[in-house]
Structure formats: structure tokens, C-alpha cells
Amino acid sequence: MTVIDPPATLDQARQFGLSEDEFKRACRIMGRTPNFTELGIFSVMWSEHCSYKSSKVWLKKLPTTGARVICGPGENAGVIDIGDGDAAIFKMESHNHPSFIEPYQGAATGVGGILRDVFTMGARPIANLNALRFGSPAHPKTRHLVDGVVRGIGGYGNCVGVPTVGGECNFHPSYNGNILVNAMTVGLARSSRIFYSAAAGPGNPVIYVGAKTGRDGIHGATMASAEFSEDSESKRPTVQVGDPFTEKLLIEACLELMESDAIVAIQDMGAAGLTSSSVEMAGKGGLGIELDLDRVPTRETAMSPYEIMLSESQERMLMILKPERAELARRIFEKWELDFAVIGRVTDSGRLVLTMHGQTVADMPVGPLVTEAPLYERPWTPAPALPGLAAKGVAAREPIAALKQLVACPDLASKRWIWEQYDHLVMGHTVQRPGGDAAVVRLPGRKKALALATDCTPRYCAADPKRGGAQAVAENWRNITAVGATPLAITDNMNFGNPERPEIMGQFAQSIEGMREACLALDYPVVSGNVSLYNETNGSGILPTPVIGGVGLIDDAAKAVTLAFKRAGEIVVAIGETTGWLGQSLYLRELLGREDGSPPPVDLKAERRNGDFVRAQILAGAVTSCHDVSDGGLLIALAEMAMAGGIGATVAAPQDQPAHGFWFGEDQARYVVTCRAADALLQAAQKANVPARVVGKTGGDALTLAGGNAISVAELKHLNEAWLPAYMAQ
């Protein structure tokens, strides 16, 4: 077979982001110099985004198995068993680079992509979450980026009718040139009806469904694998354009087809489009694929093979069907007014063969494209250890004055302005809405519910990546626990700078190490994930941000508790040990302008013990509200409970430690709970070897420090709610 087009050059390879070694490797695999189209395919398959070439050796260290795990990393999304024949399918994915260049479409297509990863596997998406990181509020671009990203996420999620139930949003100057937009989707399927991507059955038809292919997003995966410089604006053409209406139709059509036995394998066309979907399907099945590119539905004329293969046009899927069911499938997709085209067939040749206008335009071995992708053990250096900070050596501020400043700071201010722009109620199962520790979404027709949260504390990760990695997992586990659910598994989204710099690779390696320890100690395996590297502009990287998206289960949604104080006269109990750890605290940063010290230690045994205790108390009906203690410390947690319930409290710090450390230290493994009478709870805690201390009593319309100052709940609410809307209105 003769392949047309002249051989590609090393210069072209470099433009595509391949190194000289990688180009040579491609030539060796081919037994000749690849042509332009083939080189394009190599470059996207071997991009950091698709190949995980810098991260794979580290990702392998994460625990990915467990009694609940049906399918771990490697498929479109992770699958866990949630009982009764039900499975939860979920994953988180970044759309960082495109969202900085074009925030609306970048964020919107991020949501679209992650939805497809989940319904591809046979699940109806039932919840979306997101984790957002923006630059300093004072940076001139930040407001525009917040506005566009929020509109984009809302525009897409609201239209497809999947509730956006939770997430997080932080601001820090390290994200000035590289914002982070991480989107997570959770879907529900029958555990006996999961769909995978491995091709099977030589001769079976390869079907293209969904939207038409255009010239948008070509080389998006390559862009996402490089640093930004001043000219990143010129990369706007590599950002895709989303069409949530088509996505909605695609969801309904795919789920309708999945009711039948027609599908052999299915894969969405995400990063690297038709290239990665066809290569991955063939690779996993150990087979080959032939595609006739003349049959690919296009919306622009005269598209080249290279453009068709590398387009990242959205809302497209690739399927392999049983031949006798192809007509049934065609009728379903025509009902939903979507394109349906047989574009090729599965072969046993082990090769990807592309034809167009009667000529062979590419012919390359599938196996080596995947298995011989470059893999790097990049050099890394550990982050220098930072000293602890004793509260005694940190300036003390009057606690109520400090509280007023903290509740209004960008990281702690209410994000209501954001989540009210997301439809968080559609589908009618949102038991706990955004704003709490975890969202609670009941499963249709069942009593049980999933608890969902995303977490990361990047300033901890920067100061001590290992501790920060462990803390992200632990805080996520704690948030799921705080509503009464049992944490089951996580997805991770690893956002870092340039891995070719040893200190960045060190952040990555050590974060993984911390995550690994926490996942093992908490029985919280990683079932899916995504890596986003090169989040740098002109050599300046982001804070290391390994975001954890967690899924937990509660058997009876009616037993879940919220953080809101429920009524006056209840006892407020702090669970867990408070040493007054101020290193890397928000108190230090927001009041004293310091970002120093080591972050709080993560005692995973205590984390587990305290969490298991709290969950048991919630499920036994012994506590009326519960909130985890994290950013800002104990007084912030109390203020948040008061604001949510519209009820005040009188609270006291012990005499034997500095008040600012007690109220604002960020020791881990802590919760605040309320109960009608504390005796039984305190006794049970003592028996379980869990530190518990009465800190006050609910009531009144102010948060009052015994023997000290007070602030009305109304003023707290005003301070907490005012910042973001006022900032966005400027």
C-alpha cells in the first residue's frame, strides 16, 4: 500500500511539540519517516495531555483498587459499586489552558467533555461540580475571567439539565497567568450495564455520531501541553466551541441506544478528537481500524486528513456496533436529529489505516503508538522543609475583628454569586445544595444518596507538597463525612507547572506520595483522574494544585445533616485536637500578610478515628448539625454554622492556649457538631479516644465570645455575602 504525501520534517515535529528524540522514535516505529498527517497523529498521541509521559511513573503509585471499585483509571471514567446493582461513574478533568484564552467556551467545553466521559460508559449524569482557581482579584484580567468561566459553566450545564451542585473557588496571584478550571461529572448506571472502549470483532462497523467536524480545536491537546507566553492570546483558534443542546440530544440518544445490545465499544472524541478515540479503541482491543475520511460528517469544505483527524470539535462520539444492530442505532440517532455515519471498520491488522479520495493518507501501527509512547522519569528535587510557627510568636489580633476580616476575604467570602448562576436543582434530587461541606444528591427512586465534594488547599501544597497532597485527600474525606456519608472513592485533577523543572516535578512527586498515604489510610482509592502540566506563563508556575473530587454514600438521605445551627440552646462541641497551628493559615496571610511556616500536620489515624466517630454519631441521630473545620479555623467554622442557620452562639476559648491560635489555627481532623445534651456525646468520644470539647451554646442573634466581643449574625452574613457581588459589579 502506498501512502501519499511527502515525509514530514524535524522542524514540523518541533512545531507540533515533539522533541528530536521523539521524532526519531516515531520514524523508527514507522520504519520510515511519517508524513504530515501521521506526524500530527504521533504528536497529539504523545502530547503530555494524552500520553501522561511525565506523570505516569508517579500516578502508578496511587492505590486504585478496593472492594467498591468496578473500574479504575484507564477508561473514560472510574466506576464504583454503590449497592443494589447501582454504579456511580465519575471523573474530573481540567480545561485550564483554553479557559484562560477564551473563558466562556473554554469552561463550557470543559463541562461538555467531562459529561461525555461519563455518559460514554452508560451512566446518566446526575451531578456536576467544579474547582476553580483565579488570579489575584486585583489583577486586571481576573474579573473578566471569573465572569466568563461562570457563564460558560452555567451556560452548558444549565442547558443540558444536569445540576451543578458543588465546587470551590480560590484566588491567588500565582494563577494570574494560568487559571484552573476543573470540572467533575458524576453519573448513575446499572453495574451490569457498563460500556467500555476496547474495540472487538474485526469487520464490525465503526460509527461516528453527534455533531459535525469543523476546524476548531486543532492541536488543542498540544496547546494544553505547553507553557504560555505573551502571545497565548493568538492561540484562541485552538479553543473549541460548545453546543450544549447537541450534547443533550447526544446524551438522550446514547442512553436510548444503550438500552439495547447494539454497542460493542464506545468512546467520546475528546482531546485529540478522532485520533485518540480511534487509536485508543483499537489499542485496547489489540486490533486495527480502517477509516474512510470522506465519510466523516464535516461542516467545513475541503478539510484535509490532518484537520479531520486532529479537530477537537465537540459533541462527537465514536462507536463500534454489532452489524445487525446498525439500523436500530441509525433510527435512534435520526430521531434525535444527530449525524450518524459508518466511517470505517474494525480490522485484525493492528494498524490505523486512513483513506481519503481513494488514497491511503496514513498507515501506522496502533500498538506502538500507545505502548511505545515516550515515558519520562524526570529529575526532581524535594521542596525545602519549612519551620513550624508557634502561635506565641505570631501577632495576636482581637478575634472578632480578625473574624470580620476573614469572612470577607476572597477565599472565605460566600460564593453564592457563582452557584446561583448554576441550576443546582434540575432533576429534583438535590438534598443539600451548594454552600455546605458536601452536596447531597439522592438517587432517583431510592432512599440513598451520594455526597460529593471537591477540595484542595494549594498554599499547603506549595509549602509542603507531601503534607498538602495528604491534606487534600483528608479534607475531602472529612467533607463527605461531615454530612453523614461514607467516603468511597476519588477522582483527582493534578494541576502543576512545567514538569521539566526539577522543583515542579518534586511538587508533583511529593504530592502523589502524600495522596497515596492518605488514600491508603482512609480506604479512599483513586478511580479516575487527569493531569494538567505546564500551567506556567513566562517561567512562573501556579501553586501546586492536586484537586480531589470525592464520592460518598449515605443509605438514607433523610439522615444527612447540614452545617446550619438548628435551634437555640444546643451544645456546641469541637471534635479533634486544637493545637493552634498557624503555619500557612489564612489568619497569617489575610491579617499579617505572611505566607510562611509549615502547613498543619495530617495525622491520618486521628483523621480516620475522628471521622468514623462523627459519622456514627450523625447516623445515630445524636448530632443536629456538623461542619468540618478547615480554612480559617474554628471561629470561621462556627461563624459559617451561625450564618447558615440564622442563629447565634456564645463560645469560649480555653485559658491555657493563645486565643488567636485556638480560634484561627488550622489543625486537621476536626469538626464542630451540635447536640441537645453533650454528656452522651462526650462519653462516647472519650470511649472512642476522640478529643471532644464543649466550646459553647447556640442561641441569640450574635456570635459572642464569652467575656469578650460579639458580632451579629446579620453583620457576619453581610460581610460574607457582599464581597463577590461587589467585586464583580465594579
Binding site: 443533550k248 440530544l249 436529529e337 446561583e420 434540575v426
Partner: protein, 229 residues
């Protein structure tokens, strides 16, 4: 009572209203695809929320010209109750079953949150279990819910008691802050002259389950179940 829910490509709150109707009536509503030529016999026709045809043209404009809407209009004229919620309200106004139009919210943003509504009339199959003046709390979730009509139309709606719901404060007072989308005269829902067609932006169907925060929408579906039994 047999309800039929009309589905357009892009409808997305059909399950919510389906569940609320089933809870209130015990009977499974029918689902009718917009291209089905026959509209089955039904005591209530529901056009649910969503983004029909992506709302890429004016909200509801494409769906309003769908063939099945001719049949819906014919049924409405013979007195069959027709309920349009959110995108359904936009569709029935575009189809001419109700006067006025839904403009973009005055904030130019999508809003999903609980609001308070004052029930303005109990004289309809949708509101008979409420008292006029009663305040209920239900969610809204829309980008284009800013009701607009000319002065004569608004005067006529008010004069004939066709305003069904208004946005209000928790104490029932009408004020500008409580009217987040900027609707004319704080109108959240209206009836036609025959009082059988109701369009409203809020979602009573998402306030019918104690676990979900409010049960104030139960009266709405209990009214229908009672009136159309």
C-alpha cells in the same frame, strides 16, 4: 387525572414535574414526543422547563412552531388545562396562548434560588388549594424570566384577576428587591381569560418533597389532582 407531558428536544425538567404529578395523583403521566402527531387524550397538558432547541433563537420560539403546538392550542381552546413552566411559559407565550413575553433577567444572568411568591388568586384549577394572598417558597432557575407586556395588557390581566403569582418578600410585600428578574408588576405567573392555561417561571414541581427544602409547591399539584379527579 391523566397528565401528558410534551417533550421537545432540549426539555430537561420533565422528570421533576413527572415526579410531582405522580406524587400528587398516584398516576403515571404520559410523555409525548413533539413529533408524535397524535396528542393522546389528557386531562392536563404540561410543557416542562428546559432549553427547547437550545433556546438558540428567542426562548421558546422554535418549539412554539412545532406541529404538536397546533394540537395543544386546539385542546386549550376546548378548555383542557395547559400548564407551561419556565421554558414552557416561554413556549406558550410564543405560541400566543398567553399574552406578553419573557425577556432576559435584568441582571443579565441566570438565577437559581428559592423565591417567595404571593398567590394572587385561588380561582383556578392550579391554585384552588391555596388562599389568595398566601405566600409560598419555591425555586426559580432561569435566564429569561423577566415578564413584559404593554400597559393595557398588564392592566387587563390585573383587572380580570388573571395574575396568578407575583414575586414578593417573605412577608408577602411586593418590593423591587424581591423581584430579581425585573418582571413587570412583579408577575411570576398568569392565566388566560378562560383560566385553563397557566404559565409561570418558578418551579413548584421542585418544592414538593420535604427532603428538598420546601413542600410549598404541593398545593399546586394537590389543586390539580382535586380539580381534575
Amino acid at each position: 387525572m391523566q397528565a401528558a407531558i410534551i417533550l421537545f428536544p432540549g426539555s430537561n425538567r420533565e422528570q421533576d414535574v413527572h415526579d410531582a404529578l405522580k406524587r400528587a395523583t398516584g398516576k403515571e403521566p404520559l410523555r409525548v414526543w413533539h413529533r408524535d402527531s397524535d396528542l393522546p387524550k389528557a386531562d392536563l397538558i404540561v410543557i416542562p422547563g428546559g432549553f427547547s432547541y437550545g433556546d438558540y433563537l428567542r426562548c421558546g420560539a422554535m418549539a412554539a412552531h412545532s406541529p404538536i403546538m397546533r394540537e395543544v392550542k386546539a385542546r386549550a381552546e376546548t378548555g383542557t388545562p395547559v400548564l407551561g413552566i419556565c421554558n414552557g411559559f416561554q413556549i406558550v407565550t410564543e405560541a400566543g396562548l398567553l399574552p406578553g413575553v419573557l425577556l432576559v433577567n435584568r441582571t443579565l444572568r441566570f438565577h437559581c434560588k428559592d423565591v417567595h411568591l404571593r398567590v394572587e388568586t385561588s380561582q383556578s384549577v392550579y391554585t384552588r388549594r391555596y388562599n389568595a394572598g398566601q405566600v409560598i417558597r419555591v425555586p426559580v432557575a432561569h435566564h429569561d424570566g423577566n415578564y413584559f407586556a404593554d400597559k393595557d395588557t398588564l392592566d387587563r390581566l390585573e383587572g380580570e384577576g388573571l395574575v396568578a403569582f407575583r414575586y414578593c418578600r417573605s412577608d408577602g410585600e411586593i418590593d423591587d428587591d424581591a423581584n430579581a428578574n425585573g418582571s413587570a408588576r412583579a408577575i411570576a405567573g398568569i392565566l388566560n381569560e378562560k383560566r385553563n392555561v397557566l404559565g409561570l417561571m418558578p418551579h413548584p414541581e421542585d418544592a414538593t418533597d420535604p427532603l428538598l427544602g420546601s413542600t410549598d409547591g404541593q398545593g399546586f399539584f394537590a389543586s390539580l389532582a382535586e380539580a381534575l379527579a
